[in-house]
């Protein structure tokens, strides 16, 4: 991402000349208070927003190139997790995870196997047939993580995934992300929770008023070491 700016039609500037490089296998926090532009930055990475200026390449896709129309192919190379889990409320945990595979055209037999594996990985195998509404907020977030991971993407984009969770649930969810990072998955994690960054220290990009203000600061020295 090089010299990226984003101004919305109502002239609000969300990002201003932000440059960033995330290498494969990195775990990077995009930190900033509410309205700082971190979510816009994340949305640009999965092509939900197009920057007004600048160049962005994600997983080899030149998403700012004129006429870029491979958004669905780009999204198959990443998993996305939001603060609100964005699950289908009228379906079960396994249906929600299976939906991601069906929507990308995978065969039923493969779907069953992969769903079972990923739900075991996030500790929800026992509750797989429960409807979403019967699950706790933490469990719902784990279903959302399972859905994001079921296609085994090399990149995971997460936006405040622990925002609605208590301390124990946050610990559970962060353990999953840490494990994924150890296995080589690249994680870009937007958060305003500085306490979380202190407890699980990784490289941190600080965004304020749409600008990068970190300069790769002290917080990430431990992660870099």
């Amino acid at each position: 991402m090089a010299h990226v700016s984003k101004t919305f039609p109502n002239r609000i500037s969300a990002l201003s000349d932000v440059s960033l490089e995330v290498l494969p296998g990195d775990f990077v926090y995009i930190a900033g208070s509410s309205g700082s532009g971190k979510t816009t930055l994340l949305r640009i990475l999965f092509c939900a927003e197009r920057p007004t200026h600048g160049e962005v390449t994600v997983n080899g896709f030149p998403i700012t190139q004129k006429g870029f129309n491979k958004v669905h192919q780009l999204r198959r190379t990443m998993g996305i997790v939001f603060q609100d889990a964005k699950l289908l409320q009228d379906r079960t945990a396994s249906d929600n995870v299976a939906f991601a595979l069906e929507a990308t055209g995978q065969f039923q037999r493969e779907v069953k196997r992969k769903v079972s594996e990923i739900l075991t990985q996030v500790g929800l195998q026992e509750r797989r047939e429960e409807p979403i509404l019967a699950l706790s907020a933490g469990e719902q977030q784990r279903v959302a993580i399972a859905r994001a991971l079921v296609n085994d993407p090399p990149l995971l984009l997460v936006d405040e995934p622990t925002g609605n969770l208590d301390a124990q649930m946050t610990t559970d969810v962060m353990r999953i992300f840490s494990k994924l990072h150890q296995k080589g998955t690249t994680v870009v994690f937007a958060t305003q929770n500085m306490d979380l960054i202190r407890r699980y220290p990784y490289r941190t990009i600080q965004v304020t008023g749409g600008k990068r203000v970190d300069g790769e600061t002290a917080l990430n020295t431990k992660a870099e070491a």
Partner: protein, 299 residues
Amino acid sequence: MFFLRYFLLRAFKNMRGNLLPNLTTVGIITLSMLIFSTFSLIAFNLSSFLKIWEDKIQIVAYLKKNMSTRDVNDLLRTTRLLQGVDSVKYVSSDEAFAFMEAKLGNQKNLLEGIQPSVLPASFEIQLTKEFRNSTRIKEVVSQLKQFPQMEEIQYGREWVETFSSIVHILRVTQWILGGLLLAAMTFIIANTLQLTIANRREEIEIMHLVGASPAFIQVPFYLEGIIQGLLGAGLAMLALFFLYRIFFLQIAPPVKEWLVGIPIFFLPPKTIASFLSGGMVLGFFGSFVASLRILKYSG
């Protein structure tokens, strides 16, 4: 095959989930298609009737009196050589008189005291197929008018022209009406499907997020539109056939005498197939318009 089954299942599920708007759409398509196909049926039958009548079309040329047999034969030969003339039959005054007597039947005494020579001899001219219409018949008539031996030429011009005009007006009305109904139906299908799309916004958003291809997202909606169009057109055809049968059983008998010699057909299979496929195309187009918004692939 797996995908077609999956898409069809999703399309039917979508329809079941929005039963009332879907039923309303199918009902409106049925009604619109019924109006359009009724016009088609009437126009089709009038055209068929015109064609039957045109096949029987002939010109009668009345000859001047006191023509010698040799002159008549010469004129007969020349007439037969004209472009558009298939055959020519000479009807003498005596034959015309006998024909009139036969026509009058019991009232033939009306002709008492009248000499056969009062009636002029004539040529009954049959035309080749391509000249049996209101435009080309005039070409033959203008050639016949060049012969001074022919006193009067009759071919029921006004009748042919009026009838052709009626069929033409009906056809034009049918297509104007068809165009208006088409626009209305597209609008209705598009609106119903937008409701469906709005109801499934969450599901569509998740499909976008996980990288479902645009086709994967749109095909079930296209299928839904196609099914609506097919159902509407099919029901319209059934309703039209039902009305056609009722016309035959209830209305036709009292006016049967008037209808003698005028066959009334139902739409031919080819036209029915066109209506059904037209309904599907219309449904597809409506759903395409509705899904233009979900074509945009973004968060």
